[in-house]
């Protein structure tokens, strides 16, 4: 029995003239939350479809639970799409019963905030509780590997805290979890990240490992709009931040060359979002 629940080796997929995924290798171990982070069109969906066995890679290999994806490996997978895959005009209990019957298991019990809401229509639930229901449904057959697509997007602060507690609990109980997202707050919840850009994995590691060596220059010009125009013309990536300007992944020399040598600059560690933009090569 391997502790690697899922593994891809150099998988690639081309659609006509678009190389959607280009030689990506990942592995997910039991008890681990791996974040697959990428911009729109970076190849996240194609990658997931290959991992789930819904699409065959042109090159490379996918192994799920130590074997190539088949119908039987599907039973050990749970998937929560962004739309959650729930029936809005059925109640919470009816939705959970339905999913449980498909897998031939007993429906999960309702605990915490969902207790007492079994007879509520899913359409009448606030988004946070709807996502909790979707998550319970995806977990009902006790899958070994869970794939979650932006699991907390659009949810308020309490709902988000509660959802992440549930997701981490599932990982602590031994499930492997793959989260696909472009929200940095979700990426920061993961044990490890793989950054995808134009189909390639451009960085991987823990948040700390990815941020190592990623620097951003900050300045507070008297006239931010004028300074932004000059930096734009110099082709430097500028992020307006309140009254400040932040420039990820550039040298102080290049900023001084554009704005003059006496400009006051500070340099600090990049935020994850800034690092992601620098690593993906565009701002």
């Amino acid at each position: 029995m391997t502790s690697r629940l899922a593994e891809t080796s150099e998988i690639s997929k081309r659609f006509v003239d678009n190389l959607a995924v280009d030689g990506v290798s990942i592995s997910i171990r039991a008890g681990e939350i791996l974040g697959l982070v990428g911009a729109n069109g970076a190849g996240k969906t194609t990658f997931i479809r290959m991992l789930l066995g819904l699409l065959r890679p042109d090159r490379g290999q996918v192994m799920l639970f130590g074997e190539p994806p088949t119908r039987s490996t599907r039973h050990r997978l749970g998937y929560m799409p962004q739309g959650m895959g729930l029936y809005e005009d059925l109640t919470v209990s009816q939705n959970l019963d339905f999913t449980a019957r498909v897998f031939g298991v007993a429906p999960p019990g309702l605990e915490g905030d969902l207790a007492g809401l079994g007879d509520t229509l899913v359409a009448d639930l606030p988004l946070g509780l709807r996502r909790r229901t979707g998550f319970l449904a995806a977990l009902s057959h006790r899958p070994d590997l869970l794939v979650l697509d932006e699991p907390t997007s659009g949810v308020g602060p309490m709902g988000r805290a509660e959802l992440w507690e549930t997701i981490h609990d599932a990982a602590d109980a031994g499930a492997g979890i793959l989260v696909t997202t472009h929200h940095m707050d979700e990426a920061e919840q993961c044990d490890r990240l793989v950054l995808l850009s134009a189909g390639r994995a451009v960085a991987s590691g823990t948040v700390d490992e990815i941020l190592t060596g990623q620097r951003t220059i900050e300045l507070a010009p008297a006239d931010p709009a004028a300074a932004m125009a000059i930096l734009d013309r110099a082709g430097l990536p500028v992020l307006p931040t309140g009254a400040m300007l932040r420039l990820p992944g550039v040298t102080t020399a290049s900023v001084r060359a554009a704005l003059g040598g006496d400009v006051s600059l500070t340099e600090s560690r990049s935020t994850l979002e800034e690092a992601f933009m620098s690593l993906a090569g565009r701002v």
Binding site: A39, G41, G156, M158, V207, L239, G242
Partner: protein, 269 residues
């Protein structure tokens, strides 16, 4: 002058959509209204521009012709080209169709090479930039954009915020709503809405500074204290007292401050 809402409550269909909301939108600055789905962001925008009437409170806004408004996920005509979308807005405001302003906006949005493409064929990021450019075109005194960055990836979001900063740089008072808390850093003033009420407001800096008590990190779930997960650790909040044993002191970030405020509100209710 400064625009905004003072003590504004709006009821829709007998339900309170927003309650006692205060917010200011200053010329030359960006106010971000941040909240989850259903928190009241759209009601706030629509009330500020005059499409909804408050049940209580007062609204300060310029006259209609001086307001640029982009509703959520709309604002461009998909069957018109980029150029036609911009010219239409120009003519509706009595401006020349292909003015210097039109050319300037095509350039700053990077849409110049896509001028003859249908808006419906643009990527989500490009279409949102077009929508912002359309709101900016007549140089309104107040620009209100409802979720201009929703669904966009970090690069496209950064480009939209650069446009908003440019609009503010031209002297416009800009209000943008978003569900991404990390976009708070891009705005000069932030109002976080939760279930129709202001949860916390200020600059990103003053919000971080408003954190009460101590924040710690631990690797095991602390007993009774309010706590939330952050990666493989717990964040534990001690509003009034010392941290639980074994917890290491940590600096709260915006996410922590907002989560703690949500915990405090739940305690109080």
């Amino acid at each position: 002058m400064t625009f905004g809402l003072t003590g504004v409550t709006v009821e829709i269909g007998g339900k309170t959509a927003i309650e006692a909301v205060d917010l200011e939108v200053e010329p030359g600055a960006i106010t971000a209204v941040i909240g989850a789905d259903g928190a009241g962001k759209t009601t706030t925008s629509r009330t500020l521009v005059g499409l909804l009437s408050p049940t209580a409170g007062t609204v300060s806004r310029p006259n209609r012709a001086a307001i640029g408004y982009q509703p959520e996920a709309a604002g461009t005509w998909r069957d018109l080209t980029v150029s036609e979308n911009l010219s239409f807005v120009a003519r509706a405001h009595g401006l020349a169709a292909a003015s210097a302003r039109y050319r300037e906006l095509l350039e700053v949005t990077g849409l110049g090479s896509a001028a003859e493409r249908l808006a419906g064929e643009l990527s989500g990021g490009m279409r949102q930039k077009l929508a912002v450019a359309m709101a900016m075109l007549p140089r309104p005194e107040l620009t209100v954009l409802d979720e201009p960055t929703t669904g966009l990836d970090p690069m496209s979001r950064a480009e939209v915020w650069r446009l908003l900063a440019r609009a503010a740089g031209e002297g416009t008072a800009v209000l943008a709503t978003t569900s991404y808390l990390n976009e708070a850093e891009r705005a000069s003033h932030v109002v976080v809405l939760d279930a129709g009420k202001v949860l916390i407001a200020g600059t990103a800096l003053s919000i971080r500074g408003s954190f009460r008590g101590l924040l710690g990190t631990t690797t095991i779930r602390p007993g009774e204290a309010p706590a939330w997960r952050r990666g493989n650790q717990w964040r534990v909040w001690a509003p009034d007292g010392p941290l639980p044993q074994g917890a290491r002191r940590a600096e709260p970030d915006l996410e922590d401050v907002v989560t703690a405020a949500a915990f405090a509100r739940r305690e109080a209710s």
